[in-house]
Amino acid sequence: MSIETNEEFRPKIVAFCCNWCSYAGADLAGSSRLSYPADVKIIRVPCSCRVNPMFILRAFEKGADGVIMCGCHPGDCHYSTGNYYARRRMTLLFSMLDYIGVENGRTRVEWVSAAEGVKFSQTMNEFVEKIHSLGKNVRLEDLRCRS
């Protein structure tokens, strides 16, 4: 992919954030004015364990170029154990996506606490950059959704 098209390319990125840590971490990034690209849109979920693999595939189907899930650090889950289940689910799902040839940089999990506004912003910057380097998602999209 040429540099020119990369400049044009504005990725669609969905971020699932748990209500208790990561969403609050994103809020802190906001109140600390720590910027990250507008390509990232956050969906609030009660816990990372609420994130169904079907949501992630759905995002890709509808044209997302990257999906990131953020939750409380292992051990700090508001519901004690939610992120442990989420961690296993996502590990397996990501491994499967990698296995069928979807670029593994398109999916990511990051544990972000309510105090980690800096980490949230950094993570999003990194992730967007990664998606830029990968370009448009073409392996997991439904062509009918192209505008």
Binding site: K62, G63, R144, C145, S147
Partner: protein, 343 residues
């Protein structure tokens, strides 16, 4: 009667594909199905049965009907264009051709299915006689002669040469278009081949299956027979039989939300599925036995009753080979045969 050497078939395909789409048996990941021809396609004319029947050349597994576009609060509708380009289906077997006739009765009678009709109009069928019929074949039961298929063009593959015989105007036109690749041939070899094939057909285990009692109007005894209750039991309610069948014509209409509007499309449905003909009030067949019975009653009774005795089964034997539970229409026919007095 013409012929072309097998090694020149690639040239023939190139020639046809130059100005039409060409569908023929192609191997992809070890399985042969009818696919659009391309330069590097692995064409498998010696495959007796493609996994799926070639019916989707005329009645694709899914096809768009129209598209709704949504802009702000306005909705505009774009109808789907009908088939406009000519195409050739190459290598269809006699049973599958009969399958298309079964579909014709449904889709070309009033109200005409315009999508299907357009495809039929633009499609030319090049039939290929069966060379080595197999034990699961029972086309003979339905009066089909796999040695002498009837289509726009009939062909036979004999000792490395494809014999070519146009039978219709469309067939003549195609023949003319590829004339430079064809040589004249006499029919003696073809007659010989036909006789050989027919001799094999006689030996097939299912060739003498009796359809007595099927295709008749007074079917309530059969409908109410306790035999169904036993027969359906292994059925897993999958759609394999339906989706490999050359005659199944049921479809479902669905909407897909593209984010900018809706695509309304239809796709094959299976009477074996629990949501088949599901309506607001529920389902009129809510047990697998009923769904199973519907499948075979339709193929062997309702369809022939409504279509001058033409059965909605062509004996291709795909369901015999593919059913995960080894159920099939032959077992159904035989079960009633064994019932004797039951009619």
């Amino acid at each position: 009667m013409y012929k072309i050497a097998a090694e020149n078939l690639q040239a023939l395909f190139q020639k046809i594909a130059a100005d039409q789409d060409l569908y023929l048996p192609v191997k992809v990941s070890d399985q042969v199905n009818f696919k659009a021809w391309s330069e590097d396609a692995e064409v498998c004319l010696d495959t007796l049965k493609t996994v799926k029947s070639p019916k989707d050349a005329f009645f694709p597994q899914s096809e768009n009907l129209y598209t709704c576009k949504k802009e702000e609060k306005n909705i505009s509708i774009e109808p789907q264009a009908l088939q406009e380009k000519n195409f050739v289906v190459f290598g269809m077997k006699a049973c599958d051709i009969q399958g298309v006739k079964v579909l014709d009765n449904v889709f070309l009678s009033d109200p005409i299915d315009t999508f299907y009709a357009a495809r039929r109009d633009h499609g030319t069928i090049v039939a290929l006689a069966c060379h080595e019929p197999e034990e699961s074949c029972f086309c003979k039961v339905f009066g089909i002669d796999c040695a002498d298929p009837v289509a726009d063009v009939a062909t036979w593959m004999i000792e490395g040469e494809l014999y070519w015989k146009p039978l219709t105007e469309k067939g003549e036109a195609l023949t003319k278009a590829v004339a430079e690749l064809l040589n004249d041939a006499d029919e003696a070899k073809v007659e010989e081949e036909k006789a050989a094939i027919r001799a094999i057909v006689e030996k097939l285990p299912y060739s003498n299956l009796s359809l007595e009692g099927w295709g008749q109007e007074d079917y309530m005894d059969r409908f109410n027979s306790p035999v169904w209750e036993e027969l359906y039991k292994p059925c897993l309610a999958c759609g394999t039989c339906t989706f490999v069948c050359p005659t199944c014509q049921c479809y479902d209409i669905k909407d897909y939300d593209t984010g900018h509007g809706v695509q309304r499309y239809r796709c094959w449905d299976s009477c074996m599925y629990s949501d088949f003909t599901m309506m607001a009030h529920g389902n009129n067949r809510n047990s697998q036995m009923q769904r199973f019975r519907q499948r075979f009653m339709h193929k062997l009774v309702y369809y022939p009753v409504n279509n001058n005795g033409m059965f909605s089964c062509v004996g291709c034997g795909r369901c015999v080979e593919k059913c995960p539970s080894s159920l099939n229409i032959v077992k159904v026919i035989k079960a009633f045969e064994n019932q004797g007095g039951e009619k």
